[in-house]
């Protein structure tokens, strides 16, 4: 696998992770009785941002592309 291909896969995985956390936290908030979907989405929003910061701070430097 080329460095460029690997880098794109890593990015796609990270995007999937933050969006997955957003959806998951929203569903959890609904499950635990959030007043409405908008309020549940707010919990998703907070979880999304927290995951995003964690992903950025823990990610390795992308491989060099030729």
């Amino acid at each position: 696998m080329t460095a460029g291909c690997h880098n794109r896969l890593v990015l796609l995985r990270q995007i999937a992770l933050v969006l997955g956390v957003f959806v998951g936290a929203t569903l959890l908030a609904l499950l635990f009785g959030a007043k409405n979907l908008g309020t549940a989405l707010t919990f998703g929003q907070i979880a999304f941002a927290a995951t995003l910061v964690a992903v950025i701070l823990t990610s390795k430097r992308p491989d060099r592309e030729s």
Partner: protein, 263 residues
């Protein structure tokens, strides 16, 4: 929505919590990037202090200029009043303050601007959580979409029974993804290109979201932030075009070039 938290007799504004978290995240990301560039990570804290001070002054000044007709009382009372911060004013004030810091530190370079290109959308994404939780009026137009919601307890409450589009959520997700993509591309382009991309993407995001927000139209059916966004998109596109023409492309040759440019 929860505009205030009362902890041990102290009232804390929830917007303020996310405002602080925005700058903390900014500092952590900047420290990591400075380390990658072979610069002292401690500089990140100096950058954050400069950005906070300049950003607050700029955001407040912009608000006072925009609303000078509707303000009452003394000038000092208005300047140090409790609310009224405008993002674009903060961006301008923060940028000027950080550039002054960079000049003092001898780090007046496009590398620094590219660090801001990641910190700005990340900070924006976190700051918008504060807008959403506080219900400060940055929500959208009245709507009956399944995810529309009321902000009855917000600092700028919606009327009873009225639900609005939660546009701060749209903005957190879109600008958060912009931050992630730009972070991923940080070594791929020539210095300054990341920031030009940020200008284009941030401008497009705000231009689109404004169609759901409730700001007044000022010219040609567009709101003031939309006009400012068009300016950002044009500035970014010009910068990208000039860089591509001058260097025959936007890409950088190697990671060695990153370190060489930073040295």
């Amino acid at each position: 929505m929860i505009a205030h938290l009362h902890i041990g007799g102290i009232t804390i504004q929830t917007f303020g919590i996310f405002f602080a978290l925005n700058f903390i995240s900014w500092g952590l990301v900047a420290a990591k990037r400075l380390g990658e560039l072979g610069k002292p990570p401690d500089w990140a804290y100096e950058i954050v202090v400069a950005a906070v001070l300049g950003g607050l002054i700029g955001a407040r000044a912009y608000y006072l200029i925009q609303n000078h007709g509707s303000l009452h009382g003394s000038l000092l009372g208005n300047v140090f009043g409790g609310s009224g911060l405008v993002w674009y004013g903060g961006l301008l004030g923060g940028t000027i303050a950080v550039l002054l810091w960079a000049r003092w530190r001898g780090f007046f370079s496009l590398q620094l601007v590219d660090i801001a290109a990641i910190g700005l959308p990340l900070g924006y994404a976190i700051g918008r959580i504060g807008c959403q939780v506080a219900g400060d009026g940055d929500y959208g137009k009245p709507s009956h979409l399944p995810w529309a919601m009321g902000y009855a307890d917000g600092t700028t409450p919606t009327p009873p029974g009225v639900t609005a589009q939660p546009t701060p959520i749209y903005e957190t997700v879109s600008m958060g993804l912009v931050a992630l993509v730009l972070w991923h591309l940080r070594d791929r382009f020539r210095p300054g290109v990341l920031f030009a991309m940020y200008l284009v993407l941030a401008g497009l995001e705000r231009l689109i979201v404004e169609f759901w927000r409730r700001n007044n139209h000022v010219l040609g059916g567009l709101t003031a932030p939309q006009l400012e966004s068009i300016g950002l998109v044009i500035a970014g596109a010009i910068a990208l075009s000039l860089t591509a023409r001058r260097h025959g492309g936007l890409g950088r040759a190697s990671r060695g070039a990153t370190l060489a440019a930073a040295a």
